[in-house]
């Protein structure tokens, strides 16, 4: 999936300006990091791509389609093409790992057979195949995050967004998670990871976008 931001601004109703004049272009199949202090606008940028929020100025093109032209009814279809690992949208604790991962497929109306096959493939990918029947609560923090990733990729999205996916994980686990994203990127998925862990980001040697107070201050080089 190809993403283009053209002088995008987002001003909340409260008057707070979360993003202003943000422009960048992510090629199909590219992987990039998004860094910046907390409050720099990383999450807002992700939300715009998910159409959780709408920009107040500028243009966002996804595969050449201006998001402003999509109606409310088109949002679900759009979201099915994007996998997300968001910090605050965690796993549902009233169902097993398997059913958590199956959710995006159920929502898009896949049949049981297909769901079982794809959920197991996704869990296998993140190394949790043998824990499909567990309740997420019985898993460690790193495992939970991997379940979230499995859920994000089970629908075979063309864009993977991750907001602080290594938030509370130790460096070793963080590196593992990052390697997972890299693997998805290797098979052609466009990946954008928001992280404030600059050391980790630097080691990954990918393009880095840096936000500061809602402005894109660095685009391109490694951090």
């Amino acid at each position: 999936m190809e993403i283009e931001f053209q002088r995008v601004g987002k001003k909340y109703d409260s008057g707070q300006e979360a993003l202003s004049q943000v422009s960048f272009h992510l090629q199909q199949g590219e992987m990039a990091f998004l860094t910046g202090h907390s409050g720099a606008g990383k999450s807002t940028l992700m939300k715009l791509m998910m159409m959780i929020e709408r920009q107040t100025s500028g243009q966002i093109l996804i595969d050449g389609v201006d998001l402003r032209t999509l109606s409310r009814r088109a949002i679900p279809q759009h979201r099915r093409r994007v996998g997300v690992v968001f910090q605050n949208h965690q796993l549902l604790l009233d169902r097993s790992v398997f059913h958590n991962v199956a959710l995006p497929l159920q929502v898009s109306g896949a049949d049981h057979e297909q769901i079982a096959k794809r959920v197991r493939a996704a869990l296998d990918k993140v190394g949790l195949l043998e824990k499909e029947k567990f309740n997420p609560m019985a898993l460690s923090g790193g495992e939970q995050q991997r379940v979230g990733i499995a859920r994000a990729v089970v629908n075979k999205p063309q864009l993977l967004l991750a907001d602080e996916p290594t938030g509370n994980l130790d460096p070793k686990l963080s590196a593992e998670i990052m390697n997972l994203f890299q693997e998805f990127n290797r098979v052609g998925v466009t990946v954008l990871v928001a992280s404030h862990d600059l050391a980790l980001v630097a080691r990954m040697r990918h393009r880095v976008l840096t936000l500061n107070q809602g402005r894109m201050v660095n685009d391109g080089g490694f951090a």
């Binding site: 979201r79 949208h89 929502v107 990918k125 075979k156």
Partner: protein
């Protein structure tokens, strides 16, 4: 998206393949659609079972609210059948002015019997009236002491229609018409009691309609409130579903089915209540009615009425859920 599943997540080929039809709509698959509905129907029922006490209470409140108008309906239906069976020969009695000659009275009698809505006219002369009166009243002594026969000529007009609740108004019209004839002093239709009963019945009917409307609104509110709580308790799930691309219709569906279950179970219990209650009162009621009339059978909810009751309750359940869900799902937005 319409692409074959590959064993492991996205591949370059699959990503390319799906790139060209954007924005896409998944193809409509009817059998899958019905399967989904069946699954949701089952799951929403299981969800009710997972909160048995709360569910039973809601269902019972709905059942009670529905059985009140249902019970009233059964009562009215029985009163109606009883009164319908009380159909009998109606008589309009015309008391003619006492100074009228026999010939004039006879002419009037012929004239009336020629009317199409009159079956026959019985002519009761002053003497016949006196004899009949003496026989039935026991005042022979008193009457024979009178120098003159005080009784008027009476015409007993038998209309073609028997008197019952439905024909009452046309019979009254006939009586009014006969009363206007100059020879007639008083015209009486022997159906005052029926008139009163008809009034009571129509009052009862209106009362039960109003009560039904109120209680149906109550059921709407009960279901709406229960669904609101259910939506609120599944807030996280709704958020995650929105995040992974669930349509509003998809999110709404389990709650609508929940409303459906509440409605239909409420309807089932309401019907049961009515059946049990009418069975319970049937023996004394039949004995009571037997005093006035033979072969009375208490009517209860029949199959059609049970089906109607379930249809209405299921519809009200879904509708109540619809209102609540639309209000509350819109409030749950990703942030």
């Amino acid at each position: 998206m319409a692409q074959k599943p590959s064993q492991r997540g996205a591949t370059r080929a699959s990503v390319k393949a799906s790139k060209h039809h954007w924005p896409t709509r998944s193809r409509f698959n009817a059998s899958l659609y019905f399967l989904q509905h069946k699954t949701t129907l089952k799951e929403s029922f299981m969800r009710l079972l997972s909160y048995p006490l709360a569910s039973v209470m809601t269902v019972m409140v709905i059942a009670i609210a529905l059985s009140l108008p249902g019970g009233l309906y059964v009562v009215l239906k029985n009163v109606q059948t009883v009164t319908d069976q009380w159909e009998r020969q109606s008589v309009i009695t015309l008391y003619l002015f006492p100074n009228l000659e026999d010939t004039e009275a006879l002419a009037l009698s012929h004239q009336i019997s020629a009317q199409p809505d009159v079956a026959s006219v019985e002519y009761i002369s002053k003497e016949e009236g006196l004899r009949y009166f003496e026989r039935s009243s026991g005042y022979e002594q008193t009457l024979s002491s009178l120098s003159e026969n005080p009784l008027p000529i009476v015409l007993r007009v038998i209309p073609r229609e028997a008197v019952d609740v439905t024909t009452l108004s046309s019979l009254q019209a006939l009586r009014d018409e006969l009363a206007t004839k100059p020879e007639v002093e008083i015209a009486e239709l022997d159906a005052q009691w029926l008139q009163r009963l008809a009034n009571i019945l129509s009052f009862g009917q209106r009362f039960s309609y109003a009560l039904s409307v109120l209680l149906v609104i109550a059921v709407l509110l009960i279901v709406g409130n229960t669904i609101r709580v259910a939506v609120e308790s599944r807030r996280d799930e709704v958020l995650v579903m929105k995040l992974v691309g669930a349509t509003d219709a998809y999110i709404r569906r389990p709650f609508l089915y929940m409303g459906f279950w509440f409605g239909i179970l409420g309807g089932v219990f309401a019907s049961l209540c009515i059946l049990v209650l009418s069975w319970w009162v049937s023996a004394p009621a039949e004995r009571l009615i037997d005093l006035y009339q033979s072969d009375f059978q208490l009517q209860t909810f029949n199959a059609d009425e049970i089906v109607l009751c379930l249809t209405i309750s299921a519809f009200v359940g879904v509708f109540g859920a619809w209102i609540a869900v639309n209000r509350h799902i819109a409030n749950i937005e990703l942030q």
